[in-house]
């Protein structure tokens, strides 16, 4: 399974990618913001799962989710939001944009795995 990890912090991307490798997912591509993520989606074939941060320059994770959902090609890709934002309104906004699940930072790899599994097992 090919993952796309989107975060403007290289440290966070590395942490998420390391966790994914621990879970046995070695096929990972990455992007530093929403715009770059859309480019990666177009260039890389077979991205099957997006893990995205919310606060990013140029295009936020929420805007990325809305753009992906509005597209014909990628509309059904599973999207997991991983962010520091934890207000109730944030969760509602993310759900309205149709993210599949939501993880708040800082997170443990176990929580990340639970959410990925929950999305994939649906």
């Amino acid at each position: 399974m090919k993952f796309l990890v989107v975060d403007d912090s290289p440290t966070m991307r590395r942490i998420v990618i390391n966790a994914l490798k621990q879970f046995g997912y070695d096929n990972v591509v990455e992007a530093g913001d929403g715009i770059e993520a859309l480019d990666v989606l177009k260039k890389e074939s077979n991205v099957e799962f997006i893990i995205t941060d919310w606060n990013m320059p140029n295009m936020t994770g929420l805007e990325l989710t809305q753009t992906v959902r509005a597209s014909t090609e990628f509309a059904n890709l599973p999207i997991l939001m991983v962010t520091t934002r934890g207000l109730k309104q944030d969760i509602v906004d993310a759900l309205k944009a149709r993210v599949n699940n939501y993880v708040v930072k800082p997170f443990t790899p176990q929580v990340l795995k639970e959410k990925i599994d929950a999305i994939l097992n649906k």
């Binding site: 912090s9 621990q22 606060n55 320059p57 520091t84 109730k88 509602v92 176990q110």
Partner: protein
């Protein structure tokens, strides 16, 4: 009217003339002062507003930086503690390997001894039957002491190894603080940029006016800018709160997601708005209460009284107030 009176009158008239002459000379100077005050007034007002606004933001920036330091220290301590533990676990694994090696060596030596006994017996033409008690004893020692001990040590080493995997997860979690603190620093940097741009506007106005000479060139460099961060960082100014309330945060979010499935998003949003209104009312009532207390304490006596909450800490009453500030204020009652 005698000659003396006329002299006094002439002197007074002379003084009056001198006064008019002085007045004529002073008027342009007074006009200049008037123009100067007129020109400086809006700038002074702007400086005043700017200082007020910037001072209001400073405590938050200072709090953000303080939390960054605190969070960094905490994360570093956590990582160092884990590293200490890893050092100890490394010693445990080495010690287990050493023990297993010793046991295997003993097992090997015993096996060689037994094989030698068998060979010796064969060479002497003796019956191997005679070695039966020694062979049974050897097998018993291996089965009951050596192998279980090795299993036990291997199991322990496996547990230690698994705990190292957990440790690496804990380090990864502590390192996430970097993302949160970088957002805080970006927020503070943004504030510095705002202060810088406001001050620049004021300084430019000074330069455009006749007050240019008042600016010390040594201390003002219009090209001086707040340093740009090494990369563009989008920030959540409240990200620092995630360091305070990590416990239950994820489970609260999970529960909102679950509730949204049952009730629907619109219903959840209504509940959130009503909660916010309720919180706003509580804060508003508290502010009114404080104001009333302040007024009543002022009415009873002109002396300064101890007010349970310092209203000045609330800043502009029309601004939003953070939960941290509310807690800090309420904690003082």
């Amino acid at each position: 009217m005698n000659q003396n009176d006329i002299n006094v009158l002439l002197r007074k008239a002379d003084e009056l003339r001198a006064l008019f002459v002085l007045g004529q000379r002073v008027i342009p100077f007074l006009e200049e002062i008037f123009l100067f005050v007129n020109e400086i007034e809006p700038i002074l007002l702007e400086i005043n507003t700017s200082i007020k606004e910037n001072l209001k933001k400073m405590p938050k920036a200072s709090k953000q930086l303080s939390k960054v330091t605190e969070a960094t220290e905490l994360a570093t301590t956590e990582i160092l503690d884990i590293l200490d533990g890893l050092g100890y676990k490394n010693e445990l694994i080495n010690s287990n390997i050493k023990k297993i090696r010793e046991i295997l060596m003993t097992k090997e030596n015993k096996s060689i001894d037994i094989i030698k006994l068998v060979i010796d017996s064969i060479q002497k033409g003796e019956s191997i039957q005679n070695l039966e008690p020694q062979l049974i004893d050897f097998v018993n020692v291996i089965e009951n002491n050596v192998d279980p001990k090795i299993d036990e040590l291997l199991k322990h080493t496996e547990d230690v190894n698994n705990s190292i995997v957990n440790d690496s997860s804990s380090i990864a979690m502590s390192l996430q603080v970097q993302d949160i603190t970088s957002q805080q620093i970006a927020a503070v940097n943004n504030l510095l940029e705002t202060v810088q741009s406001r001050l620049s506007v004021i300084m430019e106005k000074f330069q455009e006016s006749e007050l240019e000479n008042l600016i010390s060139k040594e201390h003002y460099d219009s090209k001086a800018k707040v340093a740009v961060l090494h990369r563009k960082i989008a920030y959540d100014p409240d990200a620092v709160d995630s360091l305070d309330i990590t416990k239950n945060r994820q489970s609260n979010i999970d529960s909102i997601i679950e509730q949204s499935k049952e009730k629907g998003l619109d219903e959840i949003e209504k509940e959130i708005k009503s909660e916010i209104n309720k919180d706003d009312k509580i804060v508003e009532n508290k502010k009114v209460e404080i104001e009333q207390e302040k007024v009543s304490s002022f009415e009873t006596t002109n002396d300064e009284q101890d007010i349970p909450i310092d209203i000045n800490q609330l800043g502009d009453l029309d601004d939003e107030i953070s939960q941290d500030d509310i807690d800090a204020l309420f904690g003082k009652i």
